[in-house]
């Protein structure tokens, strides 16, 4: 499922975007409630983030699941580390862990 070119491309994205969201749709028009919920959380934290619309690229759509060993979209990466999907992001938003991670990103920027 995850071919070498796709892996390299995802590596590149993960390494070059401090806050990176693989999602369905984009920031303006999320095409899935779970993706939209993560976008809303990130916007509320006022952090710059990059999104990849997996609906536009079947190789990434399937490849990212294997890359992260995670079966669903959305998927959030912060500083090269896989954070989780919608439920985890919302939980970390509620308990303050997300603010901590994003503060580190902002602090260095």
């Amino acid at each position: 499922m995850l071919d070498e070119n796709t892996r390299k491309f995802i590596d590149h994205l993960v390494q070059n975007n401090r806050v990176l969201l693989f999602m369905k749709g984009n920031k303006t028009f999320p095409q899935c409630g779970f993706s939209g919920a993560v976008v809303e959380v990130l916007k509320r934290h006022g952090v710059d983030f990059h999104t990849v619309n997996v609906l536009q690229d079947p190789a990434i759509r399937e490849g990212i699941k294997e890359y992260s060993s995670w079966p669903t979209i959305p998927q959030l990466y912060i500083d090269g580390e896989f954070v989780g999907g919608c439920d985890i992001v919302r939980e970390m938003d509620a308990n303050g862990e997300l603010a901590q991670k994003l503060a580190a990103v902002r602090g260095d920027a």
């Binding site: 369905k24 749709g25 095409q31 899935c32 699941k65 060993s69 919608c86 439920d87 970390m92």
Partner: protein, 110 residues
């Protein structure tokens, strides 16, 4: 839902077998989603299990993913919202289920 695809029962049984939960609530939210009414495609799963003690959220979700297995991987399930608590956490939050986000209609098949 066609005969032989009672995913709710299958999902329930797999999680029970793998995690021996102290509490389990499975809510079929398919009707809230594009093309999902009656499809058993979108579920919210609240699992309370001692197996989650000392494990971070990622590890807890991976345990549930492993239990559910190919149901997610083969897209028999479109979405599974997972809320994994230890028995102590579940009591602390007053045994209240979290809300799921609304659908936005992007992909109707998988």
């Amino acid at each position: 839902m066609s005969v032989g695809t009672d995913r709710a029962a299958l999902l329930h049984d797999r999680v029970v077998a793998a995690l021996a939960p102290a509490a389990l609530e499975l809510v079929d939210e398919s009707h809230l989603h594009a093309g999902g009414k009656g499809k058993q495609s979108h579920f919210k799963l609240v699992v309370v299990a001692a197996a989650f003690e000392g494990r971070a959220l990622l590890a807890r979700h991976r345990l549930v993913h492993d239990a559910v297995g190919e149901l997610l991987a083969t897209k028999q399930l479109h979405a599974l919202s997972i809320h994994a608590y230890t028995p102590a956490e579940w009591l602390a939050r007053g045994e209240v289920m979290p809300q799921s986000p609304p659908c936005r209609g992007g992909s109707k098949t998988d």
